[in-house]
Symmetry: D2
Subunit: 487 residues, 4 copies
Amino acid sequence: MIEAWPTADDPFGHPREACGVVGIAALAGRRVDAARAAFFALYALQHRGQESAGIATQVGDRVHIHRGMGLVAQVFTEDSLAPLQGPVALGHTRYSTTGSSVLANAQPYLIETLHGPLALAHNGNVTNARALRRALLARGVGLVSTSDSEVLTLMLAEPAEGEDGVPDWPARLDRIMTRVQGAFSLVVLAGGALYALRDPLGLRPLCLGELIGGQGEVVGHIVASESAAFGTVGARFVREVAPGEILRLDADGVARLRAPEEARRPALCVFEYVYFARPDSQLEGRDVYMARMALGRELAAEHPADADLVIGVPDSATPAAMGYAAAVGLPYGEGLMKNRYIGRTFIQPGEALRRSSVRLKYNPIRENLAGRRVVLVDDSIVRGNTMGPLVRLLRQAGATAVHVRISSPPVRHPCFMGIDLASHAELVADRLSVDEVCAHIGADSLGYLSVEGMGRAVGTGPRRGHCAACFTGDYPVNVDEHRGERG
Amino acid sequence: MIEAWPTADDPFGHPREACGVVGIAALAGRRVDAARAAFFALYALQHRGQESAGIATQVGDRVHIHRGMGLVAQVFTEDSLAPLQGPVALGHTRYSTTGSSVLANAQPYLIETLHGPLALAHNGNVTNARALRRALLARGVGLVSTSDSEVLTLMLAEPAEGEDGVPDWPARLDRIMTRVQGAFSLVVLAGGALYALRDPLGLRPLCLGELIGGQGEVVGHIVASESAAFGTVGARFVREVAPGEILRLDADGVARLRAPEEARRPALCVFEYVYFARPDSQLEGRDVYMARMALGRELAAEHPADADLVIGVPDSATPAAMGYAAAVGLPYGEGLMKNRYIGRTFIQPGEALRRSSVRLKYNPIRENLAGRRVVLVDDSIVRGNTMGPLVRLLRQAGATAVHVRISSPPVRHPCFMGIDLASHAELVADRLSVDEVCAHIGADSLGYLSVEGMGRAVGTGPRRGHCAACFTGDYPVNVDEHRGERG
Amino acid sequence: MIEAWPTADDPFGHPREACGVVGIAALAGRRVDAARAAFFALYALQHRGQESAGIATQVGDRVHIHRGMGLVAQVFTEDSLAPLQGPVALGHTRYSTTGSSVLANAQPYLIETLHGPLALAHNGNVTNARALRRALLARGVGLVSTSDSEVLTLMLAEPAEGEDGVPDWPARLDRIMTRVQGAFSLVVLAGGALYALRDPLGLRPLCLGELIGGQGEVVGHIVASESAAFGTVGARFVREVAPGEILRLDADGVARLRAPEEARRPALCVFEYVYFARPDSQLEGRDVYMARMALGRELAAEHPADADLVIGVPDSATPAAMGYAAAVGLPYGEGLMKNRYIGRTFIQPGEALRRSSVRLKYNPIRENLAGRRVVLVDDSIVRGNTMGPLVRLLRQAGATAVHVRISSPPVRHPCFMGIDLASHAELVADRLSVDEVCAHIGADSLGYLSVEGMGRAVGTGPRRGHCAACFTGDYPVNVDEHRGERG
Amino acid sequence: MIEAWPTADDPFGHPREACGVVGIAALAGRRVDAARAAFFALYALQHRGQESAGIATQVGDRVHIHRGMGLVAQVFTEDSLAPLQGPVALGHTRYSTTGSSVLANAQPYLIETLHGPLALAHNGNVTNARALRRALLARGVGLVSTSDSEVLTLMLAEPAEGEDGVPDWPARLDRIMTRVQGAFSLVVLAGGALYALRDPLGLRPLCLGELIGGQGEVVGHIVASESAAFGTVGARFVREVAPGEILRLDADGVARLRAPEEARRPALCVFEYVYFARPDSQLEGRDVYMARMALGRELAAEHPADADLVIGVPDSATPAAMGYAAAVGLPYGEGLMKNRYIGRTFIQPGEALRRSSVRLKYNPIRENLAGRRVVLVDDSIVRGNTMGPLVRLLRQAGATAVHVRISSPPVRHPCFMGIDLASHAELVADRLSVDEVCAHIGADSLGYLSVEGMGRAVGTGPRRGHCAACFTGDYPVNVDEHRGERG
């Protein structure tokens, strides 16, 4: 384990955290294997982070924890799961965008406090982390990592005002809600209960479900980043945790400790709709799959094309491509196959094989493409490195025209709330106009969905605001700490 | 490494070999990184075997080899690739159906002979292995493994009749062609040249391509199990290696050492069309993807259904489902999402989570299914464990009817030519009638494609015979050694 | 990594720390590869701890650290050493007596503070750890481990009284000296300088040396647990760090920040002389080897024997045996060979081999023993499991009498200052009289060195007190926190 | 696993094999955990090879085997031992002097033959391996490794003359005895019985023992490279296997299949006495320890010294030093301490630490050396790299004179029978005269034991010849294949 330690003035090497969290709590008298349920839920949230995984449970005064590097299925064996006894569990799967991929950053984060162990799992990115860190350090606290999660955990270790030897967890959590800026969907294990929090803007998703027993009865509760995790553990979707809400899950059920922030317009990350969430998850009351089809339909309305066939870049753009095809009345088909075993390889293509980088991942279906004018739908263009080779690939396979359609607007601004996009300089749409991008990728035509079209597809309104800062630059939180950092 | 050694009388613990092979040979004066090309070709053949991978190259009198357990991308690093210099390379990726997953069985297989090193990569299964082994042992040869490949290699080490101190590789390879029964697509590295062989029935695929250089010129040749490997290395498909043919690939190009067996009707495994090959590979002159769509169309003709939506079990049944939908004039849609990160987990669901096994892998798209009568297309039913839970899953998601359609006939017989299906006792269609299977899986109706319909879809004729023994029990080779073994 | 988290009320699962520490600081303008020197010094201190090892260096504002489980030579490679640049280094090798052998406990311990990174390596055991932990937790600090070292590090993170935004490291270290009870030889890296501390009783050793360059010039300084580490790095012994002293080592040389505690009688652990330290180290001005010979001579004076040959239990008792032999005028010889490759094995001897446990480690030299009356010298008897089988082994090899002589008094009390001995119940001398022990081990006679004789051998006087609490029960520090714990 | 394959004309990259072998056979009706006993015996033979270890057992027709890289205690766990059931076991621990340290070379070597599995463990080096390999290859056999052991195994797979479908193992083993030249102590598992062979010259040791049960009864037999292995498994030494002898060990006891070669003068490697064997082993009827003391006494007679103290280079030279001291009437003492944890490190000392290489391993006991004239005894000088720094180390510690005495003659010739010494060019005594070596190492005087003195110490006579070719160049076998190879 080689670590380079950043100092207090340079704390921003820390990874963007676009992770998956889960919490499980059994009802009194019900047998729930909480750790096992957490395992399967994390397994379903694997797409949100492949770097490390961990689960913590509590029995009496002791917290049991297992964390490791790699995929959920690699980190956990029956042997490592066995000691994780107890009726409550919290789990985390981590995504890292930096090189500091070390076990020390694996979550859940766990500390001992005056009132026993405290564990925390975090999805999101704190935008005032620098200020919060300095506040902690000024208290004479030492920090062992660069992660936001340690900051949040140590903030929770500090007594709330008016505490008299008995920890007031709701007050401590409330302090998180008021002092911390940015994105945070948190699950906390403290004093034997589980707490679930979602930041006042609801930037990252978090939802609540009921665990169902053998006779259809409710045996416990679950919170998870996405509802797609519920199916694997036999849970029933109840509702989303609301922005600004704090819930307690324990043997007695679910209690609301803090009501949602009604006054504020929520700002769920719209990229969850565009790309990040599983298509079989629900967000704000609808299947993500259907929202993606709607994005395709809006795209068709804005940018129709005179063509013979509509195909999507597999797998993420398939629903948008099907929506597009249905809306313009063209046949939908598959024109690109994706190598399903695409484990990461670090082998370089080498000189002789220089042209093959995209070919590692995609192969054309020639008989489907030959002699046809093709609409190629993708969900987004970030750096713009892949689309050009794909267009060439289709032409080599016989496509007579390639019209590229993107089911989201041009990405022009970095994200500071937990999604790793890229810096300004790397964003192709920040450097080039749409026509220039079209020429750059060699397409016959290029159309992006408008911000308005995207809004129509995902739905907006008094209770359904979204953060679209990566498209608009209109950040819902103060990002002064980050100005100049990635620009 | 724990190994239990089977004795001469019990040699059939050996794994069925449904693997991927590749061979690369540079033309004289052309710079080709043969090992790197072999790596990327194996990477594209990963679906044919995930147990182990290996590459061997030859420089002068020395063969360099690297083999390891796991996926191609795990086995090879730049460090392990670096020593693999030389203008010819052969590679192998291995599939194992038994527990004896050990490095000693990883291929290529390599021995020293009187005339220098000899390496071999094998896809297929030898049906008279027992007799061939005994013949070798009777010669006083010792065998270090239970694999067919060692048998083939040691047969090649034996001088051909009439040899006079100079090895007659063509004659030795010819001996393989006449004495060995069953399936074998072989790539052999001997005396600095590469040889490619395909068994007289052409049971397993093997195809030939040209490596293209920076100016579009031919710089070498490639043989690979499937043409989908060609795209990743910038190669151009030339033709299939014909059943019974022997080719030599070296610095001078490609030479035919043995003509195809014209008299015999070929018998390419039809399951390559149904399921095994990549959809973006070509077999017998057409894209596998299109053949699968054709299977769906034939299925529609034989078993139409009164429904609202056609969906496929992802990913393998998607083209058949699209073909079915187009033929019956119903909309095609996606109703099931597959967890893309489905690494194998050995964690048991546990009591409380008993119902969730299929849910680990699939989630329904509720809004697409609710209130609809659904046709669910799959490519095959082997053991019949998965289809029932899938049908229930669709009903729970709101489907009002589920009609199951299978784009191949009932699987009633085991395979002895290299595809791991199951024993007689495990094959659900061998125990139950179609109606009983329908009841077993809880579908509203069930229709299998007929053998004749399958023949129409994949094409038959004087030069296009197929082995369909798993459906018909009509084996193209003598399988007496195996009678009773899996029945 | 499975961890069971002890709560605040049960913090004493933590391992006794009998470890090795080292610090290296280059003089200004001198090229010293500080990390490499630390590596070789740790290598020489390997006997003080085999569980984990680590080295930290500082370059500008950044600390680089590498820690790992296992032997020093296993933890470090040229690759892991390469990033550890900079003119100061501190290292640690850890001994653990409990099962919680996890990377998270590996040292050096490293945190970020308001004033940059702070690293610490600790040899010893804090006897008021419980109180210190509670004080920290009450400040709202969270603790991530159960080790004393985290407590010490976080105490150093707290501003000293009167600090005004600039850290007063001497004052903070002074606070350690006054508030922490028990054994601590510390090396601390803070603000770019190295600090060395030894507790007021000097319970654990720590010594200072000069690093010598190619022309014999002084190029830097070193502190290490034992002087035996100096030879491997070409360093010259200067003196011991005095009890209660604080030194700063940096580019300017060595500065004394706090004078030794003159008033107090020191209490170096006498077991360092008896067994723990390397025989080629110096303690209090003399070679440990010579002290061990002196222990043997005193033992001879107190317990002579009528015998033909004196042998020692290899390797630790060899000098005592030679001293004994010389004093009584008997020939010294080798009667037992020790298996040099005694890596730990967890294979159980099994039923049939039940008698062989001591035989794994020792073999007799029959021709040296046959027909002789033997004196067998050992350094100590703790649990008493080994001596009986050794006596039997000598008899089987032909010894006609076996007189056991122990070069230290009976061990009757547990150690709370960092040496893992055993609990009261396990100490054979606490349960049995000397005669009973003699019968238990089957010796012809048994003699222990007296406390007074031990004192004569290791030297006592106004400035040379020793802790002999494990023999006398007279603890030099308050051990109330531990009462009942191991008794 | 990277392997570079040597061709038939360059087969001599193979490692010299100076290994340890063991075989265990239970008597009928006696419960012996043969694999466990083999494990502990290998553990005691660890000094003969640290590269890899393996054990094979037979139950009915199946051989179970486990092999791995590393120390015996690392290779075997209770889990890996558990499947190794059965009443006979053979084991091997391997020493390698070349870089090709790969699992494929780990022994026992195992093949399937016409008559079932055959396993073999080999200590020694075959001097006509090249000719034997070519004979095998000419039979059309392929070889998968470069080890002598594969050659021996495949020779055993070949039917003996006159066999009629039933294997005549004694005849096959006899063929080994007559055709194979060089050093071989073999243990073979074939047809359910264990065979032990020692080459006609008895170059490598091999001895026979009885396994003793709980009531002192004989429960089985053991053969092992050295008798030091017997103690760890509760076995009783019976005798050495004689040169040219073949034994069968099975449920019926021990049968002699071939009598020793009476006519030939034996040639046990004298280096086993000098350095290689454990001091607690017996060779030719005496403890190796006592032979080493005798070497020291002879050395004293030939090269006395005017000095104050005799010390040895630990650990191997200790008995010779004690013998020397007793003979010249000087006190024996310890002047050098060896770092007991001397695991191999690949960290280079670096520029600043250039002088410290010997200091890693040895530290002086200053108080023992200061002001004294010292005799430093070592067992041999091979390359001569270590002795010079040791002499300097003693002088730095205060020795006023250093007289070096070597308890064997100058090593002037390479070994081709299994001991890795060095090539001619590397042997310091082949390049320099004794006076030049003395100057080279900086000693006050240097004395080697003469060949005659060595003969007196280890004993010679009609039945006690020794191979001393490394000292005399008089090889007992034809080494033409190797001429020029290392010279």
